[in-house]
Symmetry: C2
Subunit: 310 residues, 2 copies
């Protein structure tokens, strides 16, 4: 019997962020952190990652208080937590890595605790595709198990064969538009999606930042908009928040139809829109269920045209 929890595997980190609005140091970060927080709004979370001696217990307490099971978080007491230093452009449209210290993350070998193995959704964050395959070999897939995976430019160019082995095992592949163009070698989204779907994932979501996200599957194409914000402070983790929100939405439900994924994308996009309103996960951590419901209502009004077109 599977559990209605989202398994989240990926990085836990500290980020140093040079933003147009200031410099922020030791900000809680990492893809799995953002994804876990997002998923925790909608389902229990099973978190797998690695931290060093410098990762304060207060961060794990915060996650546990949100319904995140942290027994899968391994602490390497002789090492330091993954650390990233990034600098954003003035309009936040691009960023450069000033420094990346993998630290304990360099030797990360995800071990899935027995109580996690039947999670109804498994979200494989942006880690080496070899490790994503290792996680998959440990997961016990049932009829409603859904495996969601992300990747990045580094693995697309550096590990094409392992990626090609991983993709056919994936139910839902979630990447951004730049990575999707790189992976497919195509420019226009319809051609991009067709080429990537040929590589094996059942469904594909292409994230497009402020422009929203597109789903491609056997039922066609679906578009969820980005939420028009007054102020964007920090895009860090928005894509991971999107993936985590989607994972949490689907983990709590047994419906695996395109409409279930489509509805989940509204939750994912709403949570991502909160994420960018604060530095690091700050704003996301303040969001209440009422805040989320209000933003979901605003999203549905954004696509409501009052019935039939013709």
């Amino acid at each position: 019997m599977d559990s209605s929890a989202a398994l989240v595997v990926g990085s836990l980190a500290f980020d140093d962020l040079d933003m147009p609005t200031g410099e922020f140091r030791d900000v809680l970060g990492g893809a799995a952190t953002y994804s876990s927080i997002a998923a925790s709004f909608l389902s229990p979370v099973h978190l797998v990652g690695v931290i060093g001696k410098d990762f304060g217990e207060e961060h794990l307490d915060m996650l546990r208080a949100r319904g995140v099971d942290t027994q899968g978080v391994e602490r390497q007491v002789n090492g330091k937590t993954f650390r990233w230093h990034g600098r954003y452009s003035k309009d936040l449209s691009s960023r450069e890595s000033i420094d990346t210290q993998l630290n304990v993350f360099a030797d990360f070998r995800p071990k899935i605790p027995a109580s996690y193995k039947q999670s109804s959704v498994a979200l494989l964050g942006n880690i080496h595709p070899k490790l994503q395959l290792e996680v998959l070999s440990q997961v016990e897939r049932g009829p409603r198990t859904m495996v969601i995976a992300d990747t990045m430019n580094f693995w697309i160019s550096g590990e094409p064969k392992t990626l090609a082995e991983m993709l056919p095992k994936i139910d839902l592949f979630v990447i951004n538009d730049e990575e999707a163009r790189q992976l497919s070698g195509k420019a226009n989204m319809s051609a991009v999606a067709r080429e990537i779907r040929k590589m094996g994932p059942k469904r594909l979501i292409i994230k497009r930042g402020e422009h929203g996200a597109m789903l491609f599957d056997d039922d066609g194409c679906f578009y969820v908009p980005g939420y028009p914000l007054e102020e964007v402070l920090d895009p860090t983790g928005a894509g991971d928040t999107f993936a985590g929100g989607l994972a949490g939405y689907l983990a709590a439900r047994s419906d695996r139809s395109t409409n279930a994924v489509r509805r989940g994308m509204f939750y994912a996009s709403a949570l991502a829109s909160f994420c960018v309103e604060g530095i690091g996960p700050k704003r996301l951590l303040e969001v209440t269920k009422d805040d989320l419901k209000a933003r979901l209502d605003a999203f549905t009004r954004m696509v409501d045209y009052g019935g039939a077109l013709h």
Copy 2:
């Protein structure tokens, strides 16, 4: 009694297009050309513009065959038609003007024929805001008259006062995101829209190219996606096609609610998606009513999530 026609005022031109796929010369162009063709799918069109001796009668015949009234097209037999030479980047995301010859368009003073004055929609293409005001002074506005206007960076920086005088007289202001940012001095779309709506237009549509378009009015925000295409050949005229499609949709109807505008945006976006599939207006001119209906159906499926979210 007003007529269910769309009045379209703007440029008729010949374009020389340097595209990644080849060089195309003497391509029928101009904002009013694209807008008229688009509107003609949905309503009669009243066209006002100026042409030179070199504008072949076959182009006017083509327009007339589509239900475009051309009595408002003035021919200056001693001059040449507006001509633009543009070069697009390899991915079509940007373009530069190689040469612009205003020719007869330099002295264009739009004269609205008596039979055009009660058109239910007036689309003021991207011309000097002083001329847009002159057109407005000639139009007889009734209860369902809707004035739609476009502008461009050139007038935003060069004619801010005239633009400020024009905007409060506009029911629906349609510009692209770059121009909207320039005009508002803001970066994020919510702030951009708030600032521009303060300038007076009742409603605002921000066109975002392949990412679709957003409507901002008293009923909130609405998003129509761009259509994911296999191949984009030429973005020239897509924005004018969008505006023309919207004008034609609204001209044929008396509903002036936000839902009418929202539904019109699907027609506008569908027509714009055809426009970019061919060089110049070629593809748009081949589109049948069945093609349009099929693409509209595809658009509505793209935003259908099967009912309530919660």
